[in-house]
């Protein structure tokens, strides 16, 4: 059921048409707690240390992919580790 395509959140972000502001707003709307600047740093590293924050960001990206007709290609935390 893991249909994810991108290896990191950064790759996924770069595959969307969203600006940093736009993805931050979506992430914030889902309960994300990193500031815009922190999110910028996180997207450069591609991985978020906190599991919840990682998945909130992955889901924010995936909601955009869903709007574009794709099925959750951004990796949730469990997709990156042995689940």
């Amino acid at each position: 059921m893991t249909a994810y395509v991108y290896g990191t959140l950064r790759e996924a972000f770069e595959a969307t048409d969203l600006s940093l502001d736009e993805i931050w707003m979506r992430y914030f709307g889902l309960g994300g707690s990193a500031s815009l600047r922190e999110l910028d740093a996180v997207l450069h590293e591609g991985v978020v240390s906190d599991r919840l924050q990682h998945n909130v960001l992955a889901h924010a990206l995936n909601e955009r992919f869903t709007e574009l007709g794709m099925n959750h290609p951004a990796p949730y935390r469990e997709n990156l580790t042995q689940s």
């Binding site: 502001d21 914030f28 709307g29 998945n55 909601e63």
Partner: protein, 231 residues
């Protein structure tokens, strides 16, 4: 102050947008009784938006002394915490005056463009005590949001749209936060697990997470949501 004012020259501050942001910030930050935005300007710092006259009064005092938490945040580009003014040793003349006006605690976060600080978002509390990590995070979030909007939204239409997005995001955030709280209480999950349950359900059913959250809130008194697929 002149050096800080420079990035703003030729830039139109959208007051409506800033007013909307301070209003949202007051709602979103638990400890906030009032919120204001100070911006650098050629004639010195000015209160560009405030949730009330109380803020403007206190800000005027601070500008008069040319010293205080908000101006420190602007000067250093860092968040400045003054959770209990009765125990504050910095900014003595301003603090004495602010306390007389009913301010018990303040926190200020810089509003920055790549060129440097151009202002600060200030939160005023009538009750002393430390600001929670959540409150601090929100102060920084809103300050960053103002920075970003000032950096990009040049037209008032773009600014109005940005405000609307922020409002929607806040509403969605509240809904999801409530639903997480309900699942934690009812199912004994931690926050990450509660989010997990909602986001798998969102993925399975192809329904947006905030809609899943809304259903959980609505089902609060009914059958458990965690007991799998809606029938």
């Amino acid at each position: 102050m002149a050096a800080m004012a420079e990035p703003l020259l030729g830039r139109q501050i959208n007051r409506e947008l800033l007013e909307a942001v301070v209003g949202l910030a007051r709602k979103a930050i638990d400890r906030a009784d009032s919120v204001g935005v100070t911006m650098a300007a050629p004639d010195g710092p000015t209160t560009a938006a405030a949730t009330g006259d109380w803020v403007r009064e206190i800000d005027a005092v601070q500008y008069g002394f040319a010293d205080g938490p908000c101006l420190s945040a602007m000067a250093t580009g860092r968040i400045v915490r003054a959770p209990d003014l009765s125990e504050e040793s910095r900014w003595a003349p301003f603090v004495a005056d602010a306390v007389r006006r009913g301010v018990a605690g303040m926190i200020s976060a810089p509003i920055s463009l790549p060129q440097g600080s151009i202002g600060a978002l200030n939160v005023y509390s009538r009750i002393a005590g430390r600001f929670s990590a959540q409150d601090e995070a929100m102060v920084v979030l809103f300050a960053d949001e103002v920075s970003s909007v000032l950096g990009t939204a040049q037209t008032s239409a773009a600014a109005a749209e940005a405000t609307e997005h922020l409002q929607l995001a806040l509403r969605s955030r509240e809904t999801i936060g409530q639903a997480i709280g309900i699942l934690m209480e009812r199912e004994g999950y931690d926050a990450a697990e509660a989010f997990e349950v909602m986001r798998s359900s969102s993925q399975r059913s192809n329904v947006e997470l905030r809609e899943i959250a809304r259903r959980i809130i609505e089902s609060r008194h009914g059958a458990g949501f965690g007991s799998e697929e809606e029938s």
